[in-house]
């Protein structure tokens, strides 16, 4: 009889940090293709062609930048083993903040002031949304995963309430949506044909990456966050205020997601339509995949963001079971993340086949 034995490796798998994420993506896509084929008859070839298209299409660039920012935000909180699954809600709050400034204040007469205020208020509101979950986790030890997820729905419905009620636009032709935000508050598109990326997106991405690198690699708080992720008891024993670290991680993470919400509104949405959760790209969930596949290494975040951005784009192109977009993207996220979670074991363990029974 042949037994299968899992044995710890003496050294981690060479190049495991690169091989395993790549292999997970390939296997995840294949698995998704099989599920699509069996459930809705979508030919796998069609899917693979669309994935290939996703890698070269210019529209992927926007998701690439957004996912880089969102992935970076998650790497910060995941480093401390704080699982912020609430970026969707934080993005929504950021969008709400930016829309308020653009639609209802006189700042739109001063474009650059308006844009900065939109981003600033989005940072605050997104951060606040993360902070609430942080406080509940830090002081009452309520798992942040359900709390952040439930807060996504609260944020969606809060913004939907505004869009249906007090914020409903005048010139909307019967649609339930806000008016367009004033042109002066739109972010400026890069002057390349077909590109849907703005100068502000690029600046925000660079700024957020630089901040994250400085915070995680150069500050005491960043080091403490890493220890929080691996050995919280040691941190407590060293007299560090663990509660404050948890709250900080979720607040920073939420603030960055909030800024992305502002960028989405001012960059391409330009108005909020009801129901807002069906009119946005749900990138807050997709970013979880980016953060995990980067193995929480900031330098790998843009690479993971590009690959996942391409898959996301492929999800939009594929129509299966008369569905496109979110459903297909969820399928990709699920299959890839599950494969990755299991495969990651093999960077530290190996599987051996042993002949003979007994122990």
């Amino acid at each position: 009889m042949v037994r299968v034995v899992i044995v710890k490796r003496v050294k981690p798998l060479p190049f495991g940090n690169i091989l395993i994420p790549l292999l997970s993506i390939v296997m995840g896509v294949v698995l998704a293709a099989l599920i699509l084929y069996f459930l809705s008859g979508t030919p796998p070839v069609l899917l693979f062609v669309n994935v290939g298209m996703g890698f070269i299409q210019i529209q992927t660039l926007r998701d690439f930048l957004m996912l880089t920012m969102l992935g970076t935000a998650l790497v910060i909180s995941f480093t401390g083993a704080i699982w912020n699954i609430g970026e969707e809600g934080q993005i929504t709050m950021g969008m709400m903040a930016a829309a308020y400034i653009a639609l209802f204040t006189a700042l739109s007469h001063m474009p650059s002031v308006a844009k900065l205020t939109m981003i600033a208020l989005a940072l605050v509101l997104g951060g606040l949304w993360g902070l609430i979950a942080g406080v509940l986790r830090a002081y009452l030890n309520i798992d942040e995963v359900p709390v952040t997820l439930i807060m996504n729905y609260i944020a969606y419905y809060a913004l939907n309430y505004l869009v249906r009620g007090p914020w409903k636009g005048k010139a909307t032709y019967g649609y339930i949506r806000t008016d367009l935000i004033p042109e002066a508050t739109h972010f400026t598109l890069l002057p390349v044909r077909g590109v849907t990326v703005t100068y502000e997106d690029v600046a925000l991405t660079v700024g957020i990456m630089a901040f994250a690198a400085f915070f995680l690699w150069r500050t005491a708080a960043g080091v403490r966050l890493k220890v929080l992720g691996s050995n919280p008891d040691a941190l407590r024993a060293a007299g560090v205020n663990v509660q404050a670290m948890i709250i900080l991680a979720l607040t920073i993470s939420g603030a960055i997601a909030g800024a992305v919400g502002a960028a989405q509104l001012a960059g391409y949405l330009h108005r909020i339509s009801y129901p807002m959760e069906s009119h946005t790209a749900n990138l807050g969930y997709t970013a979880i995949l980016v953060a995990w596949l980067s193995m929480l290494d900031l330098r790998a975040v843009p690479i993971a963001a590009y690959i996942i951005g391409a898959l996301n784009q492929a999800g939009r192109l594929v129509q299966a079971a008369r569905l496109g977009g979110a459903a297909i993207t969820y399928l990709f996220i699920g299959t890839t993340l599950l494969t990755f979670t299991v495969l990651r074991v093999f960077s530290e363990y190996s599987i051996r086949f042993v002949r003979g029974g007994g122990k």
Binding site: I6, I35, P146, V147, L331, T341
Partner: protein
């Protein structure tokens, strides 16, 4: 007079009650075995879609109930197997399966909507709903209470229940005492998720018998909060489930009575879910009904057979 009102109120909330109660009950039982169950919302969503689709394809609700329970329990066993056999994060497995559930659920539910319309237009008439006349509603309460008592007995009074609790508190010690942790968690996953599947079926076929792309999404998290705020105790879970069932059934009545926006009304249960968790965790209840000691901890021994 007042009893009439209470009885009719209770009967009105019966489908929501049994849906949330069975889901929360199954979730709590599974977590007793030490597996952190973050997949609940995805598999709940998937089960809702499976229940709808099988009811459409089999022209009735009863086969759907059985099939949905079976499908959900396969997912429960998958989660139990992965988290027990491999040194992997329970959170990562749970969230992956959650997204998988969202994806597969939409792929199953959406074509069924068109199939249903097509059957209707060809004059094929059948009812996908579970019976909801007053007697059936009263029976829903009986079923829910019996299921709760069965789980209470199973957990507290049987050998399997003792093994489940041991696997949740300290799987290494349990294993040393001769408990097959993997087997026990597989059973807990199968039973727990069969209940979640049953809850989802009642949600879809007894309470809200239509399907659209967001159908049921988020309600798994409500069940998570219902179970957590009752300390995963089968009897206390009845109280929290009844509260939420009332809240969700009368959501629209509340909206009309207080002239609320529908969006605000939709928000209320989610805020209540957070409040319920806060109330539980901030009070001595938390110590009386503590979670299993090894909930969500990686259980792994070096060099073992698969």
């Amino acid at each position: 007079m007042i009893t009439d009102v209470l009885v009719s109120g209770a009967l009105a909330t019966a489908p929501a009650f049994i849906a949330y109660y069975l889901t929360a009950l199954g979730h709590g039982f599974f977590e007793k075995s030490g597996v952190l169950n973050l997949a609940i919302d995805g598999v709940f969503y998937l089960s809702v879609a499976v229940a709808y689709a099988t009811a459409v394809y089999t022209h009735g609700p009863w086969g759907a109930l059985a099939i949905t329970m079976a499908v959900a329990s396969v997912f429960g066993m998958l989660i139990a197997y992965l988290t027990t056999k491999f040194p992997v994060s329970h959170g990562a497995v749970g969230l992956s399966v959650m997204f998988l559930g969202y994806g597969i659920g939409a792929l199953i539910g959406n074509p069924a909507v068109f199939a249903y319309r097509d059957l209707r237009s060809r004059g094929v008439m059948f009812d996908i709903r579970l019976p909801t006349e007053p007697v059936a509603r009263a029976l829903m309460y009986v079923t829910a209470v019996l299921a709760g008592l069965a789980i209470l007995y199973l957990t507290g009074r049987t050998k399997l229940g003792a093994a489940v609790r041991a696997a949740g508190e300290n799987p290494h010690a349990a294993s040393a005492l001769g408990v097959d942790v993997l087997r026990v968690r597989l059973i807990a996953g199968a039973i727990g998720y069969a209940l979640i599947g049953a809850g989802a079926t009642f949600f879809e076929l007894a309470w809200l018998p239509t399907w659209q792309q967001l159908q049921g999404m988020g309600h798994g998290w409500l069940a998570f909060a219902i179970s957590l705020s009752a300390g995963r105790h089968p009897l206390l879970t009845m109280v929290t489930s009844a509260t939420f069932a009332g809240l969700l059934t009368y959501q629209y009545a509340l909206q009309a009575a207080y002239n609320l926006s529908p969006e605000v009304a939709k928000m209320v249960p989610f805020i209540a879910a957070i409040v319920a968790m806060v109330l539980f965790m901030a009070t001595p209840l938390r110590r009386r009904l503590a979670p299993p000691l090894s909930l969500g901890k990686v259980y792994f021994k070096e060099e073992r057979t698969v």
